[in-house]
Structure formats: structure tokens, C-alpha cells
């Protein structure tokens, strides 16, 4: 039962990453590459009708985490207090920027909100990468000092950083060199993903340039991914144990590299949606490879006194988990139906959709 909900949660997180991921990516592209007003408008229109629906996946995923793994929810949300609240602020700030840019027809006004939108998108991509890094590295559960826990075994609190940015130090922070590397991978990945969405959904004049951008960033991404794999063992000894024991999960790294490999051919794609497909495959592969590496842990413990949080010791009692299976099955089928309807109605380019000119 726990494993079933673990899969559901993973699936919902992956959906959120792919969907809101392109929103963030589009924001980053908007910040660095969109120069003319028409391109900027095209980008906001390509995400305008979708972004709040995409954030629903975060709400729904959060809800599932809440009731299926309440111990993890309580532990991680209070322990990562500051970065999580900052993510909330950035989500709000980003929405303000996106919705307000069209309110007043004045260049200074637009510059302010364009930057707000772009910079908060960039920081969100960074924060989500950092989050993944923290989950891999683990935290000092129970705040153990000299073998004694300062709190209950599953509680902790992390400051944003420590002085040395060292992932092996006794005083961990959210940001260290390892998590920062994953943060940067997050930014690069989502930038490419967002570019692919814009190419897919608009006829903007920068589409050709964006293909060039994706092509070049892909080299950076490949280098970063390989570096992270080579340094992984420093924060987590035996990172590939699960892959050796269960060869079937090699599918995830294979997907990761298939995605990256495919994107090298972006300039030759006939259909505008192909790039988006490949970056989605890469993102899913990357996320699932990462969580597979630490399975069955959800949040590893860096001390030896308190056990890691696993899908078993942080799950809700069985009755609650099994009684929710039928309603969730119905709910998710409905959701799939909505998405099919939405994509059918809004298929094709979105340049003609009036957005942001309330």
C-alpha cells in the first residue's frame, strides 16, 4: 500500500515538474532571450491559460503527501521552513509579474514586471533543483549532536546555508556545493524545457534562436549531469546499489540520456512539439533516477542515531491508505479526461489567444 502511494506521489510530482517546469522555463527565456514586445507577449500567451492549472498539481501532490506520508510532510515542511516559504513568495511574485505586465501601457511598468516574472521563475527553478539535492544528501534528523537528539527522531531544521557550503559538515544548510550543482542543473533543464514549450506553442520570431539555445545548453547540461554523477558518491556512498540490485530501474537513466541525446538533434526536428517531448522524457528520467537512488528512503538521515524516513515509517495507517484508493482512481481518471478535453480544444498554436489584456 505504501509503495502504491509512493508511485502515485512520484507520478504527480513528475506531472508538476513537467507542467509548471515549462512555465518557469518560459519565464527564464523571457528574461534572457525575449527582446521585442511581440515575443514577450507570445511567451506570456503560451503559458497564460495554463499556469494556474499547472500549479494545481502542486496543491494536489501536496495533499497526497499530507495524507499518505504525514510524518514526512510534517518533518520536511517544518525542517525546510525557510526555502519552502520562499518558494511560496516566489510563486506569488511570479504570478503578479505575469498578470500585471499588461495592465498599464507604459514601458517602465512592463520592465519592472517582466523582471519580477523572469527572476522569480529563475529562482524557482533553482529552488526546486536545490530541493532535490537536499533529498539526496539527507539531513540531520533529530538534530543529533554528540550522539544525542535535540528533537524527536524525525524533526530537524535547516538554515539556508552554512559558512563552508560543505555537504558533509555537521551543520548542514539548504545550499552547499552539491545541492547548488543540482540547483543549477534544475535551472538549465527547465530553461531548455521552457524553450521547447515556446517553440511548440508559438510562432514567435525567436523560435529559431531558441533551437540554437537549446542545442548549446544541452552541452552544458550533459557536462553538469556527468559531473554530478561523478561526485554523487561523495555525499552518498554506493549511489548505484538499487540499480545493481534491480536492473529494471536502469530504464530511468536510459530515459534521461535518451532525452538529452534527442535534444542534440533539435535543429532537425520536423514537428515543433518533438523537442518538448524529449525534454519531458529527460526530466522524468532524471527525477525518477534520483529518487530511485535513495529508495526506499524519502529523506535520508545523515546521522547514525536516528533512522532515515522511508516510505514505510512515514506512511499513514493502512485503513486510511486503502480507503482512499478508490476515490483517487476515480479522481485521476476525471483529471485525465479534463486534460484530453483541454488539449483538444486548445490544440495548435496559441498566439491568437487574448491573454493578459483583461
Amino acid at each position: 500500500m505504501e509503495f502504491f502511494w509512493y508511485l502515485i506521489l512520484g507520478g504527480m510530482l513528475a506531472m508538476y515538474m513537467i507542467l509548471d517546469g515549462y512555465d518557469f522555463g518560459a519565464g527564464i527565456i523571457h528574461l534572457f532571450f525575449a527582446k521585442s514586445e511581440s515575443d514577450k507577449k507570445a511567451i506570456t500567451r503560451a503559458i497564460g491559460p495554463y499556469w494556474d492549472a499547472n500549479e494545481v498539481w502542486l496543491i494536489a501532490g501536496g495533499g497526497v503527501l499530507f495524507f499518505a506520508f504525514p510524518v514526512l510532510y510534517a518533518s520536511a515542511f517544518s525542517g525546510f521552513y525557510l526555502p519552502l516559504i520562499m518558494i511560496l513568495w516566489l510563486l506569488i511574485f511570479r504570478a503578479i509579474g505575469l498578470e500585471l505586465r499588461g495592465l498599464v501601457d507604459n514601458q517602465l511598468w512592463r520592465i519592472v514586471w517582466d523582471k519580477a516574472f523572469g527572476i522569480s521563475s529563475l529562482l524557482l527553478a533553482l529552488f526546486f533543483g536545490l530541493a532535490l539535492g537536499n533529498i539526496v544528501r539527507g539531513v540531520n534528523l533529530g538534530e543529533v549532536k554528540n550522539g544525542v537528539s535535540a528533537f524527536e527522531a524525525h524533526y530537524f531544521f535547516l538554515p539556508l546555508w552554512n559558512a563552508t557550503l560543505d555537504p558533509l559538515s555537521d551543520n548542514l544548510g539548504v545550499i552547499d556545493w552539491f545541492t547548488l550543482m543540482l540547483g543549477i542543473i534544475g535551472v538549465v533543464s527547465l530553461t531548455m524545457h521552457g524553450a521547447n514549450w515556446i517553440i511548440f506553442k508559438t510562432n514567435s520570431s525567436i523560435n529559431k534562436k531558441l533551437k540554437e539555445v537549446v542545442f548549446k545548453l544541452n552541452f552544458v547540461l550533459l557536462a553538469l549531469v556527468i559531473t554530478s554523477l561523478l561526485t554523487w558518491h561523495i555525499v552518498k556512498p554506493k549511489p548505484f546499489e538499487n540499480f545493481i540490485n534491480h536492473p529494471i530501474v536502469w530504464i530511468f537513466p536510459v530515459l534521461t540520456f535518451a532525452g538529452i541525446g534527442g535534444l542534440f538533434r533539435i535543429k532537425g526536428f520536423k514537428k515543433d512539439g518533438t523537442g518538448f517531448l524529449f525534454s519531458s522524457v529527460y526530466l522524468i528520467g532524471g527525477l525518477f533516477s534520483t529518487v530511485t537512488a535513495i529508495f526506499p528512503n524519502l529523506l535520508p538521515s545523515t546521522n547514525t542515531t536516528n533512522p532515515s524516513l522511508t516510505i514505510y515509517n512515514s506512511a499513514a495507517p493502512n485503513y486510511g491508505l486503502s480507503v482512499s484508493t478508490p476515490w483517487f482512481a476515480i479522481g485521476i481518471m476525471l483529471v485525465i479526461m479534463y486534460f484530453v478535453i483541454q488539449f483538444k480544444v486548445f490544440k495548435g498554436k496559441l498566439d491568437d489567444i487574448e491573454y493578459g489584456e483583461h
Partner: protein, 443 residues
Amino acid sequence: MEDMIFYDRMQFAFTITFHYLFPQLTMGLSLLIVYFKWQYLRTGKVGYNSAAKFWMKIFSLNFMMGVITGIPMEFQFGTNWAKFSELTGSIIGQTLAMEGVFSFFLESTFLGLFLFGEKRLGQKLHFVTGFLVFLGSWISGWFVIATNAWMQHPVGYEILENGKFALTNFKALFSNPWLVPAFLHNQLASLVTASVVMAAIGAFYLLSKIHEENGRLFLKTGVLFGLLSSVLVAFPTGDWNAKNVIKYQPVTFSAMEGIFKSQTGGSEIILIGQPNLKEQKLDNMIAVPKVLSFLTYRNFTTDVKGLNDFDPAKWPTNIPGLYYAYHIMVGLGTILIAIMATGAFLLWRKKIEGSKWLLWIILFTIPFPYIANLAGWYTAELGRQPWLVYNLMETAKGISPTVSAGNSLFTLLGFVGLYVLLGVFFLLLAGKIIWRGPEPKHG
């Protein structure tokens, strides 16, 4: 420790108060939009269709605000109330997750389709999308109230050895006697907000002589739905809720009515007065004899318990706050019924447009339903204190053990700053939509 609880409570209170400015409009408004769209299908009059589309723009802005201020609500259960989440998550997480899965996807998908898909869908399907938006927003209210109902009157659970609450009966969550009265009361109150806002925008158009044709429709629709909903909010749904409070939280009932000493042979109802905790009485009180007994028990002479009948340790923590919240809700509710009844009367006599004084009153009534709605929620929440889960878990025991007071004050201040900014820009955006008005030429 005291500081931490205070900041955690302030942050939740502030963010939920701000958040609830938006859903309270959208839930009621979605019903009015469905009404307009249905009238358009029935009569073919373009004015109804442009009204539906105009109000869906307002809906959309408020929905967006609801989403971005709603995510912090869900997150705060974990960030600031970790112990509460850990102990009760398998129950209240259930209803909150159902809200996400059954409501938000429905609402957000079909909102997008309604706003941007009219041409591609055709009129009948466009009506259906509007109806589904309404359905989604009401389902959301249902699950939130189901969650709150469990905290007010916990059912279907057992407490395990480690102190955790485990669900034992899923269906009980939805047959909770607290749920249906609270849900209907809340939804009708939301309809009051939407109706008053609609009538007020109509009055605004008529007074400033812009979009007058639309203004007339908004005023009429707003006043009629406003009268209907403001009456139903008080009776029977408000009455049902009061009966639940007296049955399941009797000490709360005495405190919110301001009854310090037990009253035999029929209790007075207090209209105005300031609670004086030191002397256990109300200062400057104006009361009507025996009416509270009648309203509560349908009998003018039934005894009503006062706070002195209960152990002071079990009293609600903030009696004056609870008393004021309740009386503000009831007082404003009564004023709204009076204004809407006057409006409906003048509408019937076809004199409403000439009655400028009433249009001005309706215009400035806009804040009242918002305040009354919030005061209603304050009554429910302050009435439950000092408990998070009534009679089972104290609020102070629910906070995150590792988050320091300095950190929670930091984020509280951040939320205040950001929400002030957000509020200003919301008003600008809403003002622009209202100023532009509906565009019948696209209808």
C-alpha cells in the same frame, strides 16, 4: 514558546483571512454566471451572455488570487503546524487531497475553456463549462468545510498509542452532523457576497452613467439573489449552525452570545454591549428579554446556560474576540437583509433606478458581506479555541517543534508585505475590468 504559538497563529490567521477574500466571491459568483448563461440560452438576449463573460473575467482574477494565496494555506499545515499534521494528517490530509483532486482540476481546466474556448465550443458546451466551474468551486467548499467540521466535531477516528489519530470510518467524515449545516451556511454566505458585489457594480454603472444597460441587469440580479441568499443565510442555515454549537460546543455558545450568568425562565438576546471579563458582565448592554430562548429552543421560557455553568479552564480563550466576531456577523447580516429587501421592494415598484440614495447605499455595502463572512469564520475558529481538534488536541501542542519564533516572525512579516502589495494590484486589476465593463459587441 509563547512567542512561537503567537506568531504561528497570527501568520495562519492573516494568510487565511486574506485568502478567504477571494473564494468567498468566486463560489457565489459561479452560480450567478451559470444563471446568466442559462438565461442567454433560454432567451437568446445578448446582454445575458456578455454579463456571463464579464463576470467570468472577475471570477478568473479572483480564482487566480485564490490559487496563489491558497498554496500557502496548504503548505502552512506542514511548515508551521507540523505536529498537528503528523498526528492528524491521515484524516484531514484525506479531505484536503480530495479537494485538490476533485475540485481544483475541474475548476481550473473548465475556467480556461470558458474564458478562451467559446468560439471553438459553441454555446451549449460553453454553458456546460460554466456549470462545471460552478461545480468545481462548490466541491472545494465542501471538502474544506468537511476538514473544518472534523476539527470542530471529530468523528470516525481512533487515537493510537503513539498519540496519532487514525481514520477508522471514511464515510463518517461526510456524515458528520457539523458538515451539511456549515456547508450550506457558508455557500449561501458566499452567494451573499457575490450578489452584493454584483448589485454594487450595477449601482456604480447607473450612478456614473456608464454601461447603464448592463448596470440595470447587474443591479436587478444582485438584489434578487442578494435578498434570497441573505435570508437563507440567517434562516434556516444560521439557525441550524447555532443548534449544532449549543449541542456540541455549549460553552462556546454561551461565550459568543455573551451570556455570563445562567438565565432561568428565559434568556435575553444581547444586541450591543462590551464584555467585561473582570466583572463577568456586559457593559452598556442593550438586550431584548426572552428572545434568545425562543430562537434557540422555540420557547420563550427555556433556561439558557451561562459561562458560570462551565469550568473556566474550558472557556474559549478569547471571549471578547469571539463575542464580537459573532455579533458583527449577525449584525451585518441583518443590515444586509434590510438593504436587499428595500432594493427588492423598489425593484418591484419599478422605482429603484430613481432612488439614487439606495444606489449609493448599495455601492458602499460592498465591504459588509466580506466582513460578515470573515467574522463568521472567526466565530467558528475562535469558538474552537483552545482546541485544534475539539476537546482532543490543544492548539499549542500542534506547532512545529523546530521552527523558532524568529523564523516565524520573519515569514509573517514577509507575508504581510507581499499581501499588501498583492491587495493593491488586485484592486487595480479588478478596477480596470470593472471600468471597461462588458463588451456587448463581442457577444
